[in-house]
Amino acid sequence: MQAAEQKVIKVKQISKFFGDFQALNNVSIEVGLGERVVVCGPSGSGKSTLIRCINQLEVHDGGVIEIDGTTLDGSRNSLRAIHANVGMVFQQFNLFPHLSVLDNLTLGPVRSGKVTQSEARDLAMNYLERVRIPEQAEKFPAQLSGGQQQRVAIARSLCMEPKIMLFDEPTSALDPEMINEVLDVMVELAESGMTMVCVTHEMGFARRVADTMVFMDYGQIVEKSDTDKFFRNPESDRCQEFLQQILPH
C-alpha cells in the first residue's frame, strides 16, 4: 500500500472539448505507482479521451495533468516526461506494416539514443519472449494473427521501459479465441508490478488484476472504488445498470 502513496499520474479537474462537444467534464483521478486501474463505461463516455490526454495524444483544455511530478503543458520537458514514463497499446494495434516485428520493437529504443542496435535487439527478443512469440521476430505484422499483433504491440511499448502502461480496449478488435492470449500477457504484466490504466470491458480480467475500478459516463467519472466493492455493490444506478448489461447473468 505504501507504493500506492506515490502518485505517478495526477489528473486534476480536466476538461476536453471537440468543437462544442464536451468529451471530458471535470475529471480527476490519481494513480499510484504499481496501481492497476480499469476504466469502463458506455461507448462515447470519454474513456479513450481520458487516457489519450494522459499521454497527450489529445491536449486537455482545462485542468492539470502531472506525470511522475511533471506538469503536462506542451513543453519539451513535459514531452520528455511522457516519452520516458508512458507506454500505450491501442485497440487497432497500430504496428508499422513496413517493418519486421524486430524492427517495430527496436526503432524506438535505438532512435531515442538509449541503446545500441545490438542492445536493442537483445531487449526486443527479451520482451518477445515475455509475450511468447520470439519465433515471429523476423516476420512482418501482416503475417501474424490479431492476437500475435497485439502482443507485438505490447512488447513494442515495453521495449521503451515505461513506468506506466495505458491500454485502450486492447482486445476489442480481436476474434474471441485470441482474447485470452492477450489478457494472459496483461495479467503477467500486472503481476510484475507495472502501473496500468486499462480501458476494457473484460470484467474477468478486471476482477483479477484491478486495484481500482472506474466507471465513466457522459465525460465524467461516475464511480471510482476498490474492485471488490465495485462489483459487490456499485453505488450509482447508472453503474449498476451498465454492469448488469455487460456481466454474464
Binding site: V86, N94, L95, F96, P97, L99, L107, G108, F140, A142
Partner: protein, 247 residues
C-alpha cells in the same frame, strides 16, 4: 515491348508503300545514314541527364513543399497553397523562357542552358510532386503517428522511418508517371538550345530537309526510352510490394 514492335513495323510498312518517304537520310546501310542516326541519338545523353537531374530536384522540392501543407499552422499551409497554385499555373515553355532569359537578369548571374532547363523543369514539376506527396502522406492512418508518439519518435524520425516509407510505396506509380512526363517535357528545353533529342532532330531537319523521316525517328526514340522507363518503374513497384508483404 510488343506494342513497340508493332509501331515500328507499321511505320516501316507505311514507308515502304509510299513515294513521299525518303528513308535514305536514316538508312543504317549507308554511311551518311549511320552518321545521321548517330547524330540523332547523341541527344539522348542530355535528355536523360536533364530529366533525371530535374526529377530528383523536383521530388525533393515537392516533399519540402508538401510537408508545410500538412502542418496545423495555417501560415505554413498557406505557403504550400500559394506555391502550388502559382507554379502550377505557369506553362512549362514560359517557365523555361523566364528562367533562361529572365532569372539571370533578376539575380545578376549567368546560367547555362542545362541548368536553366533543369531549374525550369524541376520548378514546374515540383508543384505536382508536392500534391502527390501530400495525398500520399495524408493516406497514412493517423494511428501510425500515434504509435510513433508512444515510442518517443520526434517529427523527423516519424516522417523518415514511419510515414514516408509507407507513403512512397503508395505514390510510386504517380512518381513514375511524373518521370515519364518529365522525359517528354524535356523536349521543350530545345527552344533555348539544349542539345537533347528534339534539338538534334531539329538541326538535322534544317540540313537534310526530311522532316517526316527524322521526326518519325525522334518519335520512336522517345517511345523506346519511355517504354524502358515504364518497365523499370513497374519492376521497382513489384519489388517493393514483395518486400513489404503488406496485406
Amino acid at each position: 515491348m510488343n506494342k513497340l514492335i508493332l509501331v515500328v513495323v507499321a511505320v516501316l510498312l507505311l514507308g515502304g508503300c509510299s513515294d513521299d518517304w525518303g528513308w535514305y537520310v536514316v538508312d543504317p546501310t549507308t554511311k551518311q545514314g549511320i552518321t545521321n542516326l548517330k547524330f540523332l541519338a547523341s541527344g539522348l545523353y542530355y535528355t536523360v541527364l536533364l530529366s533525371v537531374t530535374a526529377i530528383v530536384i523536383s521530388v525533393i522540392t515537392g516533399l519540402l513543399v508538401a510537408l508545410p501543407g500538412l502542418s496545423s499552422n495555417r501560415y505554413l499551409r498557406g505557403f504550400n497553397r500559394v506555391y502550388v497554385e502559382v507554379v502550377r499555373a505557369v506553362p512549362i515553355l514560359v517557365m523555361i523562357l523566364w528562367v533562361y532569359y529572365g532569372l539571370p537578369q533578376l539575380l545578376g548571374l549567368s546560367m547555362t542552358v542545362f541548368w536553366a532547363g533543369v531549374i525550369a523543369l524541376a520548378l514546374s514539376d515540383s508543384a505536382f510532386e508536392a500534391e502527390i506527396f501530400r495525398a500520399g502522406i495524408q493516406s497514412i492512418d493517423k494511428g501510425q503517428y500515434e504509435a510513433s508518439h508512444t515510442i518517443a519518435l520526434n517529427y523527423v524520425d516519424t516522417m523518415r522511418f514511419i510515414i514516408l516509407p509507407q507513403a512512397i510505396r503508395r505514390i510510386l506509380p504517380a512518381l513514375g508517371n511524373q518521370l515519364v512526363y518529365m522525359l517528354k517535357m524535356s523536349s521543350l528545353v530545345s527552344v533555348i538550345g539544349m542539345q537533347e533529342l528534339t534539338r538534334k532532330a531539329n538541326e538535322l531537319v534544317v540540313t537534310e530537309y526530311r522532316p517526316l523521316e527524322i521526326y518519325t525517328v525522334l518519335l520512336l526514340e522517345y517511345l523506346v526510352l519511355i517504354l524502358i522507363v515504364s518497365a523499370g518503374v513497374r519492376k521497382l513497384e513489384r519489388k517493393l510490394k514483395t518486400n513489404q508483404r503488406e496485406s
